[in-house]
Subunit: 366 residues, 2 copies
């Protein structure tokens, strides 16, 4: 009844499809690449193409919004937010943080960007065989501290192990649930002409912190990642200005990719004022050395808020009173011109279009 | 102000800790291994040690229960379940399924094992550079079909890409939220002396389906994975017997590891009747060839239910009326003797202890 057949390669049936396993019924959409390239994980144009052409059409539903940091829905009259993120940052330890606090803060912030108060998190580990126990312990402890700081509970988890050379030390997925208070209504589509755009502090810090480790750069003052939980700041912001229109954290792809997505979805133009965008001298210098445009460099612990102009000053004051918003600044506004695009008034007085990241600037930044 | 230092290795600070990055404040617990080994992902003793010694003490809270398939909590009077799972199965395509439907069914089932009706799922992909687009498309379509079959919505997601050789084609995390109807109270601790233990069908199918591909075994009739969403069956079961005490899906580590965990947590003994445990002749034969004990082989689309003896027959009938429960059987009961342990009355009339899986029998089975 059972026969041992001639040895087969066995691992992966990629080009050796079993009879009875039907291929998907729809033809593969036309893509720029025949296989996954690093830039599909950049958070820029190729990520968007992958999501919009392959994933979204299959799972179309009114809650699934590719351009928001989480899904929002009601259960028993409670408005909830739900978000997920996998973390593959390399190296796993870097100045100012590690993959552990990054993973906690990442999902805490995605929930906060929905205007939600984060409540519960899950953590799922994919560990590579041979990953040293002391390093795992260090990551776990860092997650614990980050969860404590953000005031959330980690309530469920999972651990998988893959063979040596089939993973990279540790990957962490965190997913989370938060509750949205009545009256809060944050959505990229709510960006409207006249809105002021506020950032809570200097840009491009996280990306440069990671790159400086990778490239062996040393600075007089260490550039440490700005990873931080933003839920406290967001609560303070909502207390000052309940009707914030849009909140987003400009992580992968930087400020520009995030703002391009919002401009596209809300069908408005966004005009930035280069001289108003906070950036430290050290980060600026590092960007010059590395040949990076800080507008495309990943941030952590940073957010962009869109509010009606009459509420902007009040919101700015509330943010500046909070440690993570001390250097908050208005960096631009929503305009009628060039709907779907981000333009920037440069220091020298010209205006240029700043497009979404195409290609891969900084792989595995989070 | 910025100096380019001498080139450093840069990738990973494992043995090269940056000043200012403090190591965790607690000493590393004493572990059997100095690094992660495959068996830490087996779902058996080493997985349990990793979780109980390293993870749980750091995240201790009343909702975090290592021996349950998800966390349960109330928001606005609604009792919710929340669960997460990462999938790293190898090969990604196998008879009866692929990593895509496995990932959807896995979290659907974890929620169902909390007695919840699954509502919303997230999906997070870690793709390896070079992963062929047609294979990704096939996985996405399989997820779509599985989501449709289970009646759930995929509402949020994430995509990361890692360099060639730092991942393995595709890893998928799914997390999910479900709602628990009033009167349902399922928990491993509720196993009580006298309870009958029911399985919904023959064991060890998924593990053997995967192994047969890996080992190049061929059978007269193909052994196809039993991956399936169990939420419909569970709803039918709860309609017949509201007060089910325990529900668990015996995936990694097989029936024995799952039952050992329940025995341990509820401080009861569990006695299995070998002759009552359904297993197909083909799976039994394959186990003999491969030298595997089917009690430790992974299942998908299978569940174990604990109920009061007076409800067992009613529940069994309800299960048998449902396609995924057609071969349901009572396989044992909860007893006073040997609290914390699983024993089995063998076919030849003896009794033996069946312990939790130690070591790694089938790596990367889900």
């Amino acid at each position: 009844m059972i026969t041992v057949a001639k040895e087969r390669n066995g691992v992966g049936l990629a080009n050796d499809v079993e009879p009875g396993i039907a291929f998907g019924s729809c033809p593969l959409p036309i893509m720029n690449h025949k296989e996954i390239v690093m830039a599909h994980g950049s958070g820029g144009k190729l990520t968007q193409q992958l999501i919009q052409k392959m994933v979204l059409p299959q799972f179309k539903n009114e809650l699934l919004n590719p351009l928001h940091d989480g899904a929002m829905f009601s259960i028993n009259g409670a408005k909830l937010a739900f978000s997920t993120d996998s973390f593959v940052v390399n190296p796993i330890f870097f100045p100012g943080g590690d993959i552990g606090d990054l993973a906690i803060n990442g999902t805490v912030n995605d929930l906060a960007m929905c205007g939600a108060r984060p409540l519960y998190l899950s953590a799922a580990f994919i560990l590579e065989e041979g990953f040293p126990m002391p390093e795992f312990w260090r990551v776990i402890q860092s997650m614990q501290r980050a969860a404590h700081t953000a005031g959330i509970s980690l309530v469920t988890g999972d651990t998988k192990v893959v063979d040596r050379g089939k993973g990279d030390k540790i990957f962490i997925n965190t997913s989370g649930i938060g509750i949205i208070e009545p009256g809060v209504n944050i959505h990229p589509r709510r960006a409207e002409v006249g809105d002021k755009i506020i950032i809570n502090g200097p840009m491009a810090v996280h990306g440069i912190a990671i790159m400086s480790v990778r490239e062996g750069l040393e600075f007089e003052t260490e550039i440490a990642s700005d990873t931080a939980p933003l839920n406290g700041l967001v609560q303070a912001m909502l207390a000052a200005a309940r009707d914030i229109h849009v909140l987003r954290d400009p992580t992968r792809g930087g400020i520009t990719s995030t703002l391009s997505e919002i401009a596209e979805q809300a069908k408005v133009g966004i005009r930035l004022e280069e001289s108003c965008i906070p950036i430290s001298e050290e980060v600026k210098g590092a960007c010059e050395i590395l040949g990076l445009d800080p507008l495309y460099v990943a941030n952590e612990g940073k957010l962009l808020a869109f509010v009606k102009p009459r509420e902007a000053d009040l919101l700015l004051s509330a943010m500046r009173a909070y440690p993570l918003g001390r250097e908050a600044a208005i960096i631009g506004e929503v305009v009628n011109e060039h709907p779907g695009y981000v333009t920037m008034k440069t220091r020298v007085g010209g205006t240029r279009v700043v497009d979404m990241l195409s290609g891969e600037q900084l792989p595995r930044i989070c």
